[in-house]
Amino acid sequence: MKKQWLASIPGLAALLCAAIMLYLTVEIDQTRKELQQDGVLEFNFIQQVDHNFDELAQALNNYVNVAEEQKKPVLRDKYILKYDLLYASIFNVTQGWLGRLSSLESAQLLISDAKAFLQSYEPLMSSDVAIQSDTLQQISSEARSLSSRVYSLGLYLFQQKSIIRDKMSNRMDDLYDAFWIIGASFLLATLLTITLLVTVSRRAADLSADAQQTQSKLTTALDELTSGDIERQAQNRFMAAASHDLRQPLHALGLYLAALKSHVNSEQGLKILDNTYQSTEALNQLLNSMLDLSKLDAGVVDVTSEHLSLDEIFERIHQTFLPNANLQNLDLVVKKSGEWVYSDRALLERVLSNLVSNALNYTDEGTITVSAQSIDDHAKIIVADTGAGIPESEHEAIFNEYYQLHNPERDRTKGLGLGLSIVKRLTRLLNIKLSISSKPQNGTQFELLVPAGKQIDGVADTVRIRSGSYPKNLAGLSILVIDDEHDVRDGMDSLLSQYQCRVVLADSIEDACAQIIDLNWTPDVIIADYRLRDEKTGDTAIQRVREEVNEDVPAMIITGDTSPERLREATASGFLLLHKPVIGEELLDAIVQLAGEPT
């Protein structure tokens, strides 16, 4: 703002200069005109009077000098005329004739003397009178003397004019000088004004640009804050860090327990072992839920849709959860509908599992029903329970992470509260519309609108790791295990050696290669941990080993990572990926599957 005021000062100066220049131009013009016109009238007068005197004298002489009498009258008329002309030029004199001369004493004197001269000889100026030559001489000489006085007056006028001319000239010079100086100042002032204005506007533009930048930064920050991305990212980082540390020992624990089974003989011991196993299972599930959330947020989850039979899926869910339902004295009813949908098998099953599991957790008595019906080109799946119900105010909140109704004591058997938030993300991912209708004391109904599918005969099972789908025939297999954690290696050894596998343990890539060379041995399967010592990754390890033995040995990666970037990297490596903690069965199935693949 200050600069704008500053800019106005040279601006005003420029205006002032312009005004002065205008004034000077007018003055110069005036002076030039004065110069031109100066003294014109006076000069006219002087010239004319001088001329008239001379003419008179001349005419008189002509008359005197001519000899022939006949010519005399003409010549006489002539000098009379000249006399009249002189008379007119003297006796009609006014200020208008004389101009500046009227103030001169010598001029006034001349006029009065001329008048006297004319008057004294007037009687002689008629055609009747014949003037004698000596009179004529007298007149002539008087005329001449008056004429010379006119001449000196003219001279004086000329000198005056020169002085005036010089004065005017100087004045003109001064005016021109002033004009150029003011002109230069004007240009300077204008330049200054423009410069200041430009810098001001540029400054303003800069400030404006800055302001806009700041504003957009603020908007972005605000958006981030309100969208919850920051919390989610913090959450992911936390989960990645925490769950990785948790997975290692859990993984080892699972392996140890699996190994322990064959060493326990007593029934009580087996029961205790079973309970221990259940607990670790629960722990696994919890960790897996957290991993799922992380995966979903990382966008690593692929959706492969196919035509699915709801009856088949419902049946599987029924089988999975019936034991739980029985334990809680609840009825689990699954209704056949004959409906087919088009969606991702595993993810849809996951959604339904979570909903059913949730229903079981929060229903004290009664029935959980899973049914389906056709609506337009969708199928509506309904999971209903006769539980405590959810008040309308909580209908949105229940989908938030870690949010649980009616679990003030944080009963861990009821899960972490992640189940529904996973459901929310999965349904969004699968483009399934999820709605809930529930009132306290009236039970809860979850409804899913899934795109309808076509009935397909003989659906082949997709190749996935399924418990119990392969016989556990690992006998004779050579397995290379690369993991930098001692406990994990130990646990793997304990488990795998039970199945008569030859197990080679390595704690790093170098160690693995060294042992291979030493033993001159090629493994049948490579199991590598993703995160190895010195920032090395499992897929690098597998590549190195494959190079070493010059063979594309089947391999899998086990990772304890939950961070989205690491997950993306691991999945991108292309190797079969298992997540810690790995259930013993899962690991064994994977090994068998890999070993069975043609190399």
């Binding site: 002309l85 007119a88 006796f91 006014t94 208008g96």
Partner: protein, 129 residues
């Protein structure tokens, strides 16, 4: 000039002038005191009379005074060659018999040094350019 009577000159007599339409006005002049009355012929009328095609001329007086007149609008202004001053003909001593006169009072803008110089008295000749 188309209407000539002597060689390629038009010699105008007083009678000829008086036969043309006359214009009269009162005005003050720089050369005398008081308001004076002038009667004369408009220069534009005279030019029409003689069929003059030019608007520029040199005016000459009996006293050999000459002045070149180039851009005085004789059509617009009633500038006259006066032959009567205050009702009477002018003698040479009275700056006659003919003088060019401007209606200075009616048209104050005419009072310029240049016009003053072109108000030739004792008019004897107009030389068309």
């Amino acid at each position: 000039m188309t209407n000539t009577n002597v060689n390629n000159e038009a010699h105008i007599t007083r009678a000829m002038l008086e036969s043309l339409p006359s214009v009269e006005f009162d005005t003050t002049t720089p050369w005398a005191d008081g308001i004076q009355n002038f009667v004369g012929v408009r220069i534009s009328d005279l030019f029409d009379f003689i069929g003059a095609s030019s608007q520029s001329y040199v005016a000459e007086g009996l006293d050999d005074y000459k002045f070149t007149i180039t851009d005085i609008d004789v059509e617009r202004y009633p500038i006259i060659i006066a032959y009567l001053h205050n009702g009477s003909p002018m003698s040479v001593r009275k700056l006659g018999p003919l003088r060019i006169m401007f209606p200075f009072d009616d048209y104050p803008e005419l009072l310029t040094p240049k016009n003053q110089s072109s108000a030739v008295w004792q008019l004897i000749k107009l030389e068309l350019l």
